[in-house]
Symmetry: C2
Subunit: 273 residues, 2 copies
């Protein structure tokens, strides 16, 4: 796919409330962003209603793409429609088994509050065979880390506060150990007064010339009238100096061209991580 | 799937910027919401990077599910990575052809501004064979409406302002003609002081008893400590009185049970559309 990334990922953000548009999918963009900054290329984000057969079907299809990572959010709680781990077990043809370590995590949480371990609460401790529970410092449902061939499947709860805490404290440190060190350089500019369709010629040329740089134009104003376009350039490399040089070089060419077409440029910025 | 909906839909929100998490996917929730309120059951929302082969592959997989509607957003503009209609043409095994009506829409827009019709601008007038252009009152790229067997595929731009104007002015009036009249009743309540895992028993019972009602609990506070749960109940029917009676009945049962467990209830609300 011509952008220098070797490791691919898919994200599954699960929940009928997302498909029905009652909840905006901020988990997808959170994880998409975190993976991108680790140098992982996110191929897609799939939302599916709370239906085990459909979820496992699309998990299997995506597994066939051979991704390095699949991250799921949602469907780990105590209610009847929280069935993500069941769907993963089905997709991997593994059993869902009571995980002793996960049960201990759940039991301890409720014990502290002097609450009994009901079947609904124990449900949260069933993981697909081979799964490692991910501690949940905020809520009660543990996450799950499973290795399947070359793919790591990480499942986290759908509540953003829980999911983000688990990502930052537990998941990302483990992903970093599996991935080569990488630096990402992002260059931004705002171009005023040039329609996107005029700029398009130059963007097409750059896409062909710089295979390993990602360039995107986002029209903000109106294409006609007073066009405003945000330009985003991303380059990555083992050395941050190289990545930032490449991003700046490409942004420079776009700016030169926009000015040549009579546009003005503001908000030039470079971020390296 | 046990909730009274006959018509299924999938949404494709296309764009590398969505997969990379630089843009939050508000288009998916907008369309998910609008379709739900038309009585259409949204099964999934798929985001894929700007890659024709991958997009057409997943379009074909979803077409095999036999949905009544597929709505796509993004990838209609003038740049090299705007290739949604090419992917649809490929998935349907149709040619991408210059559409005279779409060309006229694009030509007129640029002519008003005394701007020439370049190849990048003409690109926006190529639709899959059989496609009907959807006027864009805000921007320049027309949308596309294609019928393929029992499925209608509607493609709209990714810029939310353009997409929403086209949905409201052109797409939704046409969808309403294809769909039976429907009323949706939604009932809401906030339950304080009952952990979701305690409520789960009753929610499981209700899901079994009321097959045609959708019930979802959203934990807001902490499961332990001070739990706060938003309850959402949705029922639909040809008559609004029936739908609202059903939604109220189910919410009432949940509230009774929560109070029985010592919880307090606020924010009870019923919306009928």
């Amino acid at each position: 796919m011509g952008d220098g990334f070797e490791k691919h990922a898919w994200i599954f953000t699960l929940g009928t409330e997302l498909a029905q548009g009652r909840v905006i999918n901020t988990n997808g963009s959170y994880i998409g962003r975190r993976l991108t900054l680790l140098g992982v290329k996110v191929i897609g984000i799939v939302t599916i209603i709370d239906n085990v057969d459909l979820i496992s079907k699309y998990l299997m299809l995506v597994l066939n793409e051979g991704p390095r990572f699949i991250v799921t959010t949602g469907g780990l709680g105590p209610t009847y429609d929280d069935r993500t781990l069941e769907a993963i077990a089905k997709a991997l043809n593994r059993k869902l088994v009571l995980n002793v370590e996960a049960l201990e995590m759940v039991r301890r949480k409720y014990e502290e509050r002097k609450m009994p371990l009901t079947p609904e609460r124990m449900k949260m401790a069933y993981l697909p065979e081979g799964g490692v529970p991910v501690p949940n410092p905020v809520g009660t449902a543990p996450g799950c880390w499973i290795e399947y061939g070359e793919t790591v499947i990480v499942s986290l709860p759908g509540v953003p506060r829980e999911m983000e805490a688990m990502w930052e404290n537990w998941v990302e440190p483990r992903l970093r150990k599996l991935l080569p060190p990488i630096h990402i350089a992002e260059a931004f500019a705002k171009i005023i007064g040039v329609p996107e369709s005029s700029l398009a010629i130059q963007l097409n040329r750059i896409a062909q010339e710089y295979e390993k740089v990602y360039v995107k134009s986002h029209p903000l104003g109106e294409e006609l009238g007073k066009p405003v376009i945000n330009i985003y350039v991303m380059a990555s490399g083992e050395e941050s100096s190289l990545a930032s040089k490449l991003a700046q070089e490409v942004l420079g060419k776009i700016i030169d061209y926009a000015q040549h077409l009579g546009g003005s440029v503001t908000g030039v910025e470079l971020r390296v991580s």
